[in-house]
């Protein structure tokens, strides 16, 4: 399906890099017209971030960019030029949402602060998403996604055990908390505007947004005055509950026992009737108290079995189990994702077929079909000619002045 739920909604989208564009992609995938304002002189950094098709570096060849910008229209504008800024204001006048993820003060310096744009478009929805908020003693701290993991305790909590943090391997907050909190807020603002006629400003501090993703730990620390334990793959309530090495080259399975009957079944499967019948291990508390003994038994069995065998044997007994999948396995060998038609190829004019994740849900039983990401500046003339009514001659003049550079 190509949903038209947001038909008629227009974005002037100044976001760049990871979190911002991933959030506004939600809207272009659902029928909104997202005008991505970018510039060859100040590139969206993700256009220059790999991987590149065939390993050949090029502004329109990044797979990472493709995955964050499906269905958008690219307008190349040099915002250092007065004409470039004027065009943005004219686009905002005909937009419903204006979005950015610049640092504090950057929009003001362009003359694009909320009050200024509200004068142009009184009911504008204005999304701003700097890292640490617009004001305060650390507002100007520079960061990447991992910095957000660091200051929100996610890095500290992503640990094998006590005092052994390693942190997420990705810029995790860029890929879930911040783009999707932002998208949810804009959708709420659109709903609000439809009822009241009023727009609003959304100030999303990426740190504040991300802290909600570890909200329960924050409540616990506040309530008890103690630091929540760093438990890694283990559980405080159940055992065994861990990732174990399976037979094969760097292959691993996650096993999560969540009740005593499952434990007895597992102990039987791994050929350890002695542990199954050991009353000291009959409850989760008992198993947690003898964690080394319990885990060693499971680890020993897993090491001699292939992940497929482990999954089949345990799943048949109602035990939560999964191989730890990597990208290739998800794409080529996951029967569930294949059955649900999760992967789709989108044809791109320069790099051909690009493999993309579908939005992770079915709507009315159907997949949302994605549109290709734009080439840099692909829609400049079309949009400025159509929406702003600029003539071919005017567009040529602006181009000669470097406004589209």
């Amino acid at each position: 399906m190509k949903p038209d739920f947001l038909k008629g909604v227009r974005f002037t989208d100044l976001t760049w890099a990871g979190a911002g564009p991933f959030g506004t992609k939600v809207f272009s995938d659902f029928g909104a017209e997202v005008l991505k304002i970018e510039s060859a002189t100040r590139l969206d950094s993700v256009r220059t971030a790999g991987p590149f098709k065939d390993g050949v570096v090029g502004l329109n060849r990044s797979g990472y960019f493709a995955s964050r910008n499906t269905g958008k229209k690219s307008i190349s504008l040099n915002l250092k030029s007065e004409e470039g800024k004027r065009i943005v204001r004219e686009l905002v006048a005909q937009s419903d949402v204006v979005s950015n993820n610049f640092g504090p003060g950057a929009m003001d310096r362009f003359g694009f602060d909320y009050e200024a744009l509200r004068e142009i478009k009184p009911d504008i929805i204005y999304l701003s998403m700097p890292m640490y908020g617009q004001d305060g003693p650390r507002a100007d701290l520079l960061g990447v996604g991992m910095t957000i993991s660091a200051v929100t305790s996610i890095m500290w909590q992503t640990a094998y055990g006590t005092g052994d943090p390693v942190g997420p391997g990705t810029h995790y907050p860029d890929h879930a908390a911040n783009p999707y909190h932002a998208a949810f807020a804009v959708l709420a603002a659109l709903a609000h505007r439809r009822k009241t006629g009023r727009g609003m400003k959304i100030d999303l501090s990426q740190v504040e947004s991300t802290i909600n993703f570890v909200g329960p730990a924050v409540i616990e620390a506040s309530s008890t005055g103690r630091e929540p334990p760093q438990i890694g793959n283990r559980s405080r309530s159940h055992a065994p509950h861990n990732i174990f090495r399976a037979r094969g080259d760097d292959r691993w399975v996650a096993i999560a026992i969540t009740d005593n009957a499952q434990w007895r079944a597992l102990a039987t499967i791994i050929g350890r009737a002695d542990l199954r019948d050991d009353t000291s291990l009959a409850t989760a508390a008992g198993r947690l108290a003898s964690l080394d003994r319990v885990e060693q038994a499971v680890a020993g069995w897993c090491a001699t079995h292939a992940p497929e065998e482990i999954v089949t044997a345990l799943r048949a007994h109602g035990i939560a189990v999964s191989e730890v999948a990597h990208s290739r396995a998800l794409i080529e060998a996951d029967p569930q994702l294949a059955h649900r038609g999760y992967w789709q190829h989108v044809q791109h004019p320069e790099i051909g077929a690009v493999l993309l994740n579908s939005p992770p849900y079915l709507i009315d039983g159907e997949r949302v079909e994605l549109e290709p990401p734009p080439l840099l500046g692909q829609h400049t003339r079309e949009v400025l000619g159509g929406l702003l009514g600029l003539s071919g001659t005017q567009l040529d003049e602006l181009n000669e002045q470097g406004v589209f550079s």
């Binding site: 790999g50 990447v144 996610i154 807020a185 909200g215 506040s222 994702l337």
Partner: protein, 379 residues
């Protein structure tokens, strides 16, 4: 004051991976009602368990994910309870179902009660496919979705993200999809059915690793092995850890760091001035990482997290403290912005600091209420 979702009634039958959806809508005005069997849904039962190890951390998760929701107890196996629930469904604009919870296996009946509602189903693997019934938990879903693979040390095996990230990731995607569908429903009157797979949500959050395989036939490895610069890591300082990012692609950060070290006259400046640090490829190697760690830590160990953070601010170095949870509660920026909400919680006790809104809105429409603070009766 009108609020974005104040005329929206949500019937919330989720108990695990779907719980954040109703929370997000409720904070913006929706009336969210959990329907629970006598004794409660599994998350309430765990939160009120007499067994301490079952209660923690379930109780904190319960308070966080169910804030703002009311709860009605109905015996759903009785005709009266079922009819009472059907009556609530007929009033609802959104119905949230979850595998293992009430009515998940009766989707068509639910839709018949509320044909113009958005019915969102949350499940580990989606409603269809060979794994539709497969048991799952946070750990196994982070594994099946590919995110556990990406964290940890190469030698020590994959590592999941902390807390309940399968629930959080699934929650924001499911809330967004529900809101998109609702936007259409309110305009057109047509109901929608949304089928959210937690595995798919997690697999949608893997940075660039899908394209890395598609375009370069490389499997992204845990810890960014082979792709992460020597400078992009945690380093020890006098009172803890700091996180630094100063690859050559962030030239401002690298140059500012090296200039600062040079200014202080610290011996490590000599190493970092060497030509080899201009070599982006060499900087990815284990050798470079070992040298950089030893060199930088000889410098950072002279300073506290706070001192390093102040210099990062002053000099535009991409560097910040690796906060513990207690540090987050004490963060000067968050204090300045008056971020935390002080609330009394029914199950987690005392007056606690509760995370503030994920977004600040210029209209005063976001409001936090503790879980179960209202008990409306069924119609």
């Amino acid at each position: 004051m009108s609020r974005p979702f104040e005329d929206i009634q949500i019937l919330d039958l989720t108990w695990e991976f779907g719980r954040y959806v109703g929370r997000l809508f409720g904070d913006l005005g929706a009336r969210v009602t959990r329907i629970e069997p006598p004794g409660g849904l599994p998350d309430r039962r765990a939160s009120t368990s007499p067994v301490a190890i079952e209660r923690e951390p379930a109780v904190y998760e319960f308070e966080f994910l169910n804030a703002g929701k009311a709860s009605v107890t109905l015996e759903l196996s009785s005709p009266e309870g079922r009819e009472a629930c059907a009556a609530l469904m007929r009033e609802a604009q959104v119905i949230l179902l979850e595998r293992g919870g009430p009515f998940y296996d009766e989707l068509q009946w639910v839709r018949a009660q509320a044909p113009s509602a958005v019915v969102t189903s949350v499940s580990p693997f989606g409603r269809t496919g060979p794994w539709a019934e497969a048991p799952a938990t946070d750990l196994t879903l982070q594994s099946a979705g590919g995110i556990a693979w990406l964290s940890g040390r190469l030698a020590d095996g994959p590592l999941r993200l902390p807390g309940l990230q399968a629930t959080m990731i699934t929650g924001v995607y499911a809330a967004t999809a529900t809101s998109l569908a609702l936007y259409d429903t309110l305009a057109t009157g047509r109901g929608h059915e949304v089928d959210v797979s937690a595995q798919e949500c997690i697999a949608h959050s893997l940075q660039n690793s899908i394209q890395m395989w598609d375009f370069e036939r490389r499997v992204s490895m845990r810890g960014g092995e082979g792709t992460r610069d020597a400078s992009e890591d945690m380093f020890s300082c006098r009172d803890g850890l700091i996180f630094l990012a100063a690859p050559r692609s962030l030239g401002v950060s690298w140059n500012a760091l090296v200039s600062w070290i040079q200014e202080t006259g610290h011996a490590s400046a000599q190493e970092l001035a060497k030509e080899r640090w201009a070599d982006r490829v060499w900087r990815l190697t284990g050798e470079a990482k070992a040298i950089f760690r030893q060199t930088l830590e000889s410098f950072t160990q002279c300073y506290t997290k706070e001192q390093l953070t102040q210099e990062a601010l002053r000099r535009k170095i991409v560097m910040g403290p690796v906060a513990t949870v207690a540090d987050v509660l004490d963060d000067p920026q968050l204090r300045h912005r008056d971020y935390f909400q002080q609330v009394e919680l029914a199950l987690a006790g005392a007056r606690v600091s509760f995370p503030g809104a994920p977004y600040r809105l210029s209209e005063p429409v976001w409001r936090l209420r503790p879980a179960g603070s209202e008990q409306p009766q069924p119609a």
